[in-house]
Point group: C3
Chain length 422, copies 3
């Protein structure tokens, strides 16, 4: 049977690569937890981690329960479909599910686990935006619905074969479908939530530094490491030419993003801020994600470099607009996600800039509106913001009874550290 056929070794390799890529995307969740925790205050760092653990685990469970079959409903109207509960394994036809009969170069289990690892990403991005003042239970509710419902709906428009894919829109591994969705859902939440106390006091922008740059660094490198699986696995096979090409464009864009962001920071702020350099790496990675398999290596450098400039300007812009995004996730994932999607239209002749624009705008508009409505509803029902006292004391003690570093003397409060830096 199939295992004796000449196509079986190729199927084995393709399937194995997708599983390894799923493992790599999994490690991105440690990357997110580390970078978001590292870039927030010590007193809120456990809370960030807790939210990320929750949303990863709840995200995978709900994706198994409903999300996977919302995102890949089979034939549907192009806007919304649902294939049924569970992941759709047909026990009466194991051969069809576990061989190339499934229609892909992998088993249904591999398909599911790879996609499930993607799913929690969008909500994890939001976690970074709302850190330091969001009520835990409110975030849990919002994140769960984002992962299990909103993300798979817009995902189905393109990857599920819906109206955007009909239109000729291209988003290889999700600059828009994953990153911009997370970024603009985060923006909606931040607008409802308001800024952290002290961030925009007395008309100026106060810097509230993250508590551990080494922790943030570990996070960014792990994200880059995992991105080889995020983009490389999105080839959906181990095709040597395409996967190796994607590795190269992904790495070049990340490098260009870092160098461009370093230069921009030096020119604009006359400093070589380390967190900004780290965000430059992420900006380049988010930017290349939409076109990693179709953009030329030289264009990958350009896409990454422009993303590296954009992220510095966007973070500055949102600060001026009094939009308080503690880890810069709206800029990194939202703005650079849109940029990467448009870049496909600019740099690759066979894709239309106009279609790319329509695609990314519809996805972020839909996400922003639904997120805004949902988070408003949660605000109305149970509130979304902790009390001033809890915020001042830090969410770690109030919400979890934990201190991230209980043996270290004199963890300073926000105000003191802010004063010290400004």
């Amino acid at each position: 049977e199939f295992m004796a056929s000449p196509g079986f070794p190729k199927f084995m390799i393709d399937n194995l690569w997708i599983l390894i890529a799923a493992g790599l995307v999994f490690i991105m969740h440690l990357g997110f937890a580390s970078v978001e925790s590292g870039l927030t205050q010590a007193k809120n760092s456990v809370n960030v981690i807790y939210k990320n653990v929750f949303i990863l685990c709840m995200g995978i469970l709900t994706y198994a329960f409903v999300g996977f079959q919302i995102m890949y409903p089979g034939d549907f109207n192009g806007f919304f479909g649902f294939g049924g509960f569970g992941i759709g394994f047909d026990a009466s036809d194991p051969v069809g599910m576990l061989t190339s009969g499934y229609g892909m170069d992998m088993t249904i289990w591999s398909d599911f686990i790879f996609q499930a690892m993607f799913a929690a990403t969008a909500a994890t991005i939001v976690s970074g935006c709302v850190t330091g003042r969001v009520k835990l239970i409110s975030f849990m509710l919002f994140g769960t619905i984002l992962v299990s419902l909103i993300y798979p709906i817009t995902g189905s428009w393109q990857w599920g074969g819906g109206w955007l894919s009909e239109l000729g829109f291209y988003d290889f591994a999700g600059s828009t479908l994953v990153h911009a969705v997370g970024g603009f859902a985060g923006l909606a939440c931040v607008l409802i939530l308001g800024a952290r106390k002290g961030k925009f006091d007395s008309g100026r922008v106060n810097i509230i530094p993250g508590h551990s740059i080494p922790l943030a660094t570990v996070g960014v490198f792990l994200l880059w490491f995992g991105w080889f699986g995020f983009n490389g696995g999105s080839v959906l096979s181990a095709d040597p030419a395409t996967v190796s090409y994607v590795f190269v464009t992904t790495a070049l864009a990340a490098c260009a993003g870092a160098i461009a962001s370093m230069l921009t920071t030096q020119v604009v702020f006359r400093s070589l801020d380390a967190p900004m350099a780290l965000n430059g790496i992420l900006a380049g990675l988010v930017g290349i994600t939409a076109g990693a398999d179709v953009i030329s290596p030289l264009a990958a450098v350009a896409v990454g470099a422009i993303a590296g400039v954009l992220v510095v300007l966007a973070i500055t812009f949102f600060d001026r607009m009094k939009v308080d995004d503690p880890v810069g996730a709206i800029s990194v994932h939202g703005i650079c996600g849109v940029w990467g999607t448009l870049a496909v239209g600019l740099f690759v002749p066979q894709y239309s800039f106009f279609t790319q624009l329509i695609g990314t705008l519809s996805v972020i508009t839909f996400t922003f509106i639904l997120s805004y409505a949902l988070f408003s509803l949660i605000k109305f029902a149970i509130g979304v913001r902790v009390t001033d006292g809890v915020e001042a004391a830090g969410l770690d003690i109030s919400e979890h009874g934990n201190s991230a570093y209980p043996y270290f003397a004199g963890i300073e409060t926000e105000a003191a550290a802010t004063a010290d830096k400004s």
Copy 2:
């Protein structure tokens, strides 16, 4: 010859996956070092790391020297056998050793390195249990003998083709053979060693918090990451259907463990303790390990969820029994390891609950008795516990002359931090 045969590509893929899985299991040792160090006091965190580095390195060396051929002795009496020193590479027959002639879908080198990465795990678990008061040299002795002798003996009963495998016992990747062995060896040591000073003072259970929740988080995520190799590699080939299935059950159990432990903590303690949520992930992973390839996805959720509840109750139980297990390893690996093994008998019709019970009981009883005897002997010969002065000052300075964080002012002593928390 073999390299030109149609079976060679399959052999290459299988072999490559086992090597990658060995790398993933290796990274679990960083996971253990991080989580155990993070969950202990700052003043003992270097000591934990040192013990783990030692036992990993000594474990691999002794496994090459004797352990591998105790665990896989070839034909033997079913209880104890020894195939000879070294790993058994027959230089006169390289083709037999490096092709499918070896009898597996991998070379003897791949077989050895994958198994060697498993071996040190059991002793590393013990390292967590005894932290904060064990004499370094005593642990080194105990751990070395556990890895090179006790672990491979019980391992041979099942994976070496011994009496338990004859009986129909099933332990896919080692809920019992690896994790429960570590957990119950640790229990034996803790009973001999006694609790840390101040843990059960004045009749109450004092919380001695870990020193870095971010470090513990890094550890737990790396353990989960590595577990895809631990369970996925235990398929012993890259068979697409089985490996992908194992990835799914492993992930679902981990997620269910985390969510269940979060809920249990909220219900029982009215708090959302972060280390307990992290332990919930590990509990789910330990639980699914015995049956990851035979348990249904829905049952995997159940097994993980029950493990997540169990781990919270077990930690509370051992605290009440005045068994001082600083990182909760007896509960995570011992109790959930037994649970996972029994679960195979409960959820999979072709395996007998009674056989699973016999299997896990014989392994943990044998391990517990030998560990108890061995550690008692070491206590008699050279002592197992540091002096009160060393314990109060922390083992890092006394045993290593190192401080984990020499530039951070005012690392508080145990008493102060405890008072602060209780």
Copy 3:
């Protein structure tokens, strides 16, 4: 065409392994950033990270621009060649570039990305040596030229098919070509730069401890993890026998290095210093790198153990010589790199000790002289050392405006911490 040929599955597997190995070598850069940052003072830890991020990103970009074609120039005079700008992808012949027609078991993209990940390593090693007093811009200049010019030239002598490979020199994965190059370039810089203030005050060697042993541990384990790709990928195919063999010798040497370094530290200093044990792991890994595929497992243990002894003695020696190498990189990478290269001549009959000696001496001499000249030139032009005030305050604030841990009270200054330890 090629995809339907019987050789295609093997090509797919080989290519996939090289890509995964490239990912593993990438994670070594996080390892370097973590270990170097962890082993330096808190006040300089951001600076170390920043340098490593810069050199990784700039290194990959310049390697794409010129380095790859300096290192692999095609037919050349054996000393220096240049194949042209870019990585040499011939768009008119994609089949030749992306199949076995390229002449390797991988595509040109895989070949490039694997080699590019190696390239930044040498400069990253230097980053550790010069930490705590080097001017950022001077290091950036030096590192960029080292990566894009000096490293690929000596690399071409052997891996590019130059005069050393003609001579019969053997350096499997780069004990000399990567590690000793980094170590001796670092030595040149340190000699020009001088010691950190306070290191050799009043005629004694003062210990300036690293700021976070857990962070250094994370780094060392990630380096070991990545080394499976560094050595395993250097097979340049997924050949089951060779890759699995390399995994075994690599692991055994690392283990032996750790144990030997632990013993040596105990005998020489009567202490069990943790950073020295971690350096023992790295010493074993650097040592085995030149001969991982040709040295017997028993000899791998010997090579690693001797490296573990050597590294302790070399660090002590350089301290006595008043050569201030804050993280011990000259000893780990320079001395053990030379040792590993010579060991191939000692332990493997078909290689000549004399040729190995000539090879490693010519590479390190060339590197040392060019590095010394280049860094002297930079010193003359713009200076290489920060002012005493900047050094005392730490480079993080002065050069980046960042503090690694802004919420932790009382990060002690160098003098206080030194006094405390000595």
